[in-house]
């Protein structure tokens, strides 16, 4: 089953079906009925569709797209701005009130968040990925906290209790993601820990001397 999904043709069909399902009125209205469903299920799923779809593209095409955009950093910047927009309460309200904005959401999240993130991820390396993760997690926690602490109703379309509930879910999700990311550092293979201390020492950058440095 999983092997079949990994085949591009099958994968694209499954993603297309999921996309249509999310856009179909029954699921769309039920997810958008609550702030948590809208922010924490529908929006991430749309971005995830773009991410996975990009991964199904041939590697050469991904590389060409990456080069055309100027490398990983511009794509990460694009992801940050596009995803930040859809975190704003005003954007959620607009999406519910205007079919045009709703359509923009369904197009921009896969294309401007998921796809560029998948492209950039290939070249980010462990430090860049770690930075994106820790930044995302702390921002998710802070956003959740802001929703909990907000003195006013931030969305016209959702009540204060929904806002608080979404805030708490974001904080909990941030904690879970952080714990999961940390735990992932403690498992896995690779490396070669069995070498002795002397073998582990990298060769010195310059020839060593025994009797002190030369002085000019």
């Amino acid at each position: 089953m999983i092997a079949a999904l990994a085949r591009p043709q099958v994968g694209f069909r499954v993603l297309g079906a999921l996309y249509l399902l999310l856009a179909a009125p029954p699921l769309r209205t039920s997810l958008e009925a609550t702030m948590s469903g809208h922010m924490l299920v529908q929006i991430p799923l749309l971005a995830a569709i773009g991410f996975v779809a990009c991964r199904l593209l041939p590697v050469a095409r991904q590389e060409r797209l990456l080069d055309a955009g100027g490398g990983a950093v511009p794509y990460v910047v694009l992801v940050v701005f596009a995803s930040t927009w859809w975190m704003l309460p005003r954007a959620l309200d607009d999406a519910l009130a205007s079919p045009l904005v709703e359509a923009a959401k369904f197009i921009s999240l896969p294309l401007l968040v998921g796809l560029p993130l998948a492209l950039a991820w290939r070249r980010l390396g462990p430090i860049g990925r770690g930075f994106v993760w820790t930044n995302f997690i702390s921002m998710l926690a802070v956003l959740g906290w802001l929703y909990i602490a907000a003195p006013v109703r931030v969305c016209n379309s959702y009540l204060v209790d929904q806002q608080e509930s979404a805030g708490w879910l974001m904080v909990k999700l941030a904690l879970l993601l952080f714990a999961g990311w940390l735990a992932s550092l403690f498992v896995g293979g690779g490396g070669n820990p069995a070498l002795s201390t002397a073998e582990q020492v990298a060769p010195p950058p310059a020839p060593s001397r025994d009797c002190g440095p030369e002085r000019n």
């Binding site: 430090i127 997690i137 602490a149 940390l182 201390t197 582990q200 310059a206 440095p213």
Partner: protein, 495 residues
């Protein structure tokens, strides 16, 4: 049972980045020491700078010393860790650049914006200055801390990357296969174990710190976004306590690496050593409530946890390291020089400095001692005679002209002057605490002034001896880059 033998590791000189870190540390350390002296002189009523200037200096002294301890500790860790794993020099330098940017922001906030809410920036003080500083000044201070935090986060992510690339995962870098299974004597060296521990706890602490800083910045401009003050305090102390604890865990790597070169005995990564570092990896994250014991509104379980774990965490690494150092030195025929003497002294400073915290961590004692100078007595002993002394030892080691070079008389005098004056200085704090002298007061009662005057005299002597150490480091900075044997061969080996 695994056997351990000393394997000689070629002595490498410091990279330019390490020396830049140490030079920055030395300069800022001296400046912060002078700020500290000015505060003591004000309390001693020998100068009159006024309360506002006093609190500005206190804010700079606190934030500056924590920051510089972290920079100096990171330089020691990076210098030795890069001999085992492939670290990025660019990230290392980027951290220093971000640190300096953060320092400039903090200096601007305090000296130009007159922010003086202490390094703890406890909510809601930064936003409620009663006109003494602007929201912009508070934002600049907290923004500076954020920038410094981002730099350290990058550094730790790079260390995490390098450890995972070399050892596969953190479990192996912490030596868990040897700790929980058969000890085959192939556990990672102490430097790797300590670096892995510091990376884990600092990444967690920095993310928590960044979260509360971001939240307080929002609150600064939109006060309606209210924050629970107790939660804010808990998060600030969680971050701050981990960060300052990590500085000594980074610096102690110098002891693990350098003392064995003097005695030609290995520092063993045995089960006890690995267990102590694993235990502290967990416990260091749960001891911060011992700073909150006076906040009765905190949940009782948290305060009890702080009390118990505060007791427990004093023991593992400190005892294992102290005992390990004694065993390495005992009958080794070590030839003492400034580097080895300072490193050995630092372990005494660490142990002696932990004791007042151990006592203060007792809830009933804490109620009467925590807001006195007893606590500054604790952390000045721990940091000045422990952490900073490790850094001085490392500086002397790097700059030693050759392994047979004898120390100058002035260095030997400075060593004993430093030791005695730091003891006098810290004992003045501790005795003042015992006499119930309140901490963080710019003006002192007449009965307290004699202690302040004694402390001021000792502070001058501490600065004088530190000047000798730092002057010697700068005089020999050119030698520090070269690869050659620095540690004299122990008599037992030479014979």
């Amino acid at each position: 049972m695994a056997t351990y033998t000393y394997e000689h590791i070629p002595d490498q000189g410091a990279k330019a980045g390490v020396l830049a870190y140490l030079a920055t540390s030395a300069v800022v350390l001296l400046l912060m020491m002078v700020f500290g002296l000015l505060m003591r002189l004000e309390q001693a009523q020998w100068i009159s700078i006024g309360a506002i200037r006093f609190y500005e200096l206190m804010t700079l002294h606190g934030a500056g010393m924590v920051g510089i301890a972290a920079i100096a500790g990171a330089s020691i860790m990076w210098h030795f860790l890069r001999q085992y794993v492939d670290l990025s020099s660019r990230i290392f330098v980027a951290n220093l650049v971000l640190f300096l940017v953060g320092v400039v922001m903090i200096l601007g906030s305090v000296l130009l914006g007159h922010f003086h809410g202490a390094w703890t920036f406890l909510y809601p003080l930064p936003g409620k200055s009663m006109g003494l500083w602007s929201p912009g000044a508070a934002a600049l201070f907290m923004g500076g801390l954020l920038v410094i935090g981002v730099g350290f986060l990058l550094l730790h992510l790079d260390i995490a990357r390098a450890l995972v690339a070399r050892y596969g995962n953190f479990s192996r870098a912490l030596g868990w296969p040897q700790l929980f299974g058969h000890d085959d004597g192939k556990a990672p060296p102490p430097t790797v174990v300590a670096s892995a521990m510091v990376t884990v706890v600092n990444v967690i602490g920095l993310v928590v710190g960044a979260s509360i800083l971001a939240m307080m910045l929002v609150n600064l401009y939109v006060p309606e976004f209210d924050i629970d003050p107790l939660l804010a305090k808990g998060m600030i102390y969680f971050f701050g306590h981990i960060f300052i604890n990590a500085t000594i865990y980074m610096a102690v790597i110098g002891v693990y690496e350098i003392l064995p070169r003097y005695t030609q005995r290995p520092w063993k990564s045995n089960k006890v050593f690995l267990a102590s570092w694993t235990a502290s990896t967990l416990m260091v994250m749960f001891i911060f409530p011992h700073h909150l014991l006076m906040d009765f509104a905190f949940p009782k379980w948290m305060l009890i946890m702080g009390h118990i774990i505060g007791y427990l965490n004093t023991v593992p690494i400190l005892v294992v390291t102290g005992y390990g150092a004694l065993m390495i030195v005992y009958r080794s025929g070590i030839r003492w020089d400034m580097g080895s003497k300072l490193l050995f002294l630092s372990l005494f400073g660490w142990a002696a400095g932990a004791m007042p915290a151990f006592i203060d961590g007792t809830i009933t004692v804490n109620y009467v001692m925590h807001n006195t100078l007893w606590v500054p007595g604790h952390f000045h002993t721990y940091l000045l005679l422990g952490m900073v002394t490790m850094v001085f030892g490392f500086m002397y080691y790097l700059g030693k002209p050759s392994h047979e070079h004898d120390d100058h008389l002035i260095d030997r005098i400075a060593f004993w002057l430093f030791t005695s004056s730091v003891l006098g200085f810290t004992m003045s704090f501790l005795y003042s605490g015992k006499e119930s002298v309140a901490r963080r007061y710019a003006a002192h009662l007449p009965e307290w002034v004699p202690y302040d005057r004694i402390a001021s005299v000792f502070a001058v002597l501490v600065i004088a001896s530190a000047l000798v150490f730092i002057g010697r480091f700068f005089a020999r900075i050119g030698l520090a880059r070269h690869d050659y044997q620095r540690a004299p061969v122990a008599r037992s080996v030479a014979a």
